[in-house]
Amino acid sequence: MRWLLLKDLQILRRSPVLMLLLVAYSAAIAVMIGSATRETDAKPRVAFLNQIPADEDEFVVAGQRLKASRYADELFKSVDAVTVTTRAEAVEKVRDGDVLAAIIVPADTTQRLKAALALTGSPRAPTLEVIYNGADPLQARAVEATIKGRLADANQAISAELTKASAQYIDILLRGGGLGVLGADFNVLGLQRSEKIVADALDALPRDSPQRAGLEEVRRFARAAVENLDLAGPVLRSVGQPLKVQKQVINARTTPADRYYVAVALTLSALFVALLIGAGMLSLEREEHTFGRLARGLVTPLQLIAAKILLGTLVGLAVTTLMACGVAIFVPLELGRAPIWLPVLAVACIAFGATGVALGALAKDVRAASLIGVLISLPIAFLALIPPSAMSPALFDLVRIISAPFAFRPGLQAVDGALSGGSFGLPLVHLVALIAVYGVIGRQAAFRIR
């Protein structure tokens, strides 16, 4: 066994390309994961529009001076805020991808907060508007989670203030004191003192006084109020979630995100099947020594690689169609749109098959072709699935450049668009261009095999 191990190591040492590939692969994966992990800590860029008038930023509740902008700071802990001046600018930045989302604090936020705390009728909770781009469900979900988390922190910070305020309200209601309502200060008697005054008045009244019954009723009420403190209810209810969020999605998908995951599953399966079949079956010709026999006029190199691409496409399409039928049991897929998404899936399979054939023509045998196929497919699929919110804009651009020569990303975009009723024209053009490029590479490499 020792000698076998030594022999294998010796063979590996004499396979510099394979060794280089293995080392480069490990390094590339490590760099990608490291970058993604490191970049996850980076703050996503979020547009921020504060519509609260400057003179309303501060307000007083139950004697406490509160500042609305202080709570915005909570939101900025996890996002890189890009200040904008209008709602239209915020929407444009989201649509263009300059920022991942926009948070708009409406002008009436302070008023609503004050109303919520001042017990002036049924309060409407202050509502922040969050706009994000729904074109990429993974990104949308990540951004939504980040903003939800930050809003929870902001709510908690406000809740802490409101808890103090509500405690003061309760104290004022119980013991009496100064209270500001609609900008005017009032001196509140307090329930305990009210009860005592009513009790004193009752003691002073003759037993047959007609006013006695009414005063008795007031005293019972005051006593019950002291015991139950129901008047603090609106305040206490608002303590839980003082800020509400109104979500708006632009470039919205017309279908559920589930369908995006179906698109991912179908594209990933098509990638592996079509690519490995294309690569494996072409390199099999080399392994079986039949390439020379075929190439001496029986078939042209172009016919040979076209046959392998077609094989990869047919098998890839068959597997993914079966898969789609199975998935349709659990996720509502518009099978009526099959005449649209099946041809798109077929184009993606052709692109994957062409990639495989190019690899198969370059590899010396089936095992090497399969290994190279997997080594290339996995990181490319991984890169295409990382949400942009997990990366800095520079890294995202780099990932887009790295992914561009490979068919997975445009394949996923095209299949997703076809499944969800979105657009898929550009990714389809990208796929056709890649088919041509890989076709030429495969043909040239096939000539070399002879």
């Binding site: 079986e288 020594h289 006029g297 029986l298």
Partner: protein, 230 residues
């Protein structure tokens, strides 16, 4: 009329000459052996004759379709049966299924027609390999080391089969490292070394060109090469 005429065939790989102006002719029913040390250009010459490689210069008077080409390694699909392989190549060659039946008969593979190639012996696999090369009934059959990796019994059977082809007027050109085999079965020898054709003629002619003291053909061949600086 000659079965095959090669004129000044040259092949260059980068800055290395694999073949230098090699000319010869093969007559119908003749058996021609190409011998020479490793790297002499034997396989390159056969590949050019078979249309697998284009020559850098020179010409062959036959179209590749008129020449049967049998590579050293069996160039058939190991997961297909014998008859499936023959049918596939018959279709690619544009010949009828009758040719497949005839070829199974001629190669004695009728009994093994439905056997998967990977389960055949080395000798039978080589028969299938040759059968594919004969499907178009070529006037010339090229064989690259046809008996390599076969045991003596299988080798004898293969040669019996190959020599039987010449009775139908098929010319056979084969390369080999076994000079004894070349002396025994070939009518003519082509001796190549470093891409140059050093000798073309009958085995006895080569024997005569070296010191008469050497009676053994293999020793005579080695002396022939040594005397010419190889």
């Amino acid at each position: 009329m000659s079965a095959l005429v090669a004129e000044s065939l040259s092949k260059r790989f980068g800055d290395r000459d694999a073949l230098s102006a090699v000319s010869f002719r093969v007559e119908p029913g003749q058996v021609v052996a190409i011998i020479g040390p490793n790297g002499a250009g034997k396989t390159t010459l056969l590949s050019i004759l078979g249309g697998v490689l284009p020559p850098t210069s020179g010409s062959v008077d036959r179209d590749p379709h008129e020449i049967g080409w049998v590579p050293q390694q069996p160039a058939v699909y190991s997961k297909l049966s014998v008859v499936e392989n023959l049918r596939l190549f018959a279709r690619l060659e544009g010949v009828s299924d009758d040719a497949v039946r005839q070829m199974l008969d001629r190669t004695g593979l009728v009994e093994r027609a439905d056997d998967v190639v990977s389960e055949l012996s080395g000798g039978n696999r080589q028969r299938v390999n040759i059968a594919v090369g004969l499907l178009r009934e070529p006037r010339v059959l090229l064989l690259d080391e046809p008996s390599a990796a076969l045991d003596p019994r299988q080798r004898a059977r293969i040669w019996e089969f190959i020599l039987g082809l010449t009775t139908h007027g098929i010319a056979v050109v084969f390369s080999t490292h076994d000079v004894g085999e070349a002396e025994r079965f070939a009518d003519r020898l082509l001796v190549l070394a470093d891409g140059e054709l050093l000798f073309a003629g009958a085995p006895a002619g080569l024997h005569k060109q070296v010191d008469a003291a050497h009676t053994d053909f293999e020793t005579a061949f080695v002396s022939f090469l040594r005397e010419r600086g190889h």
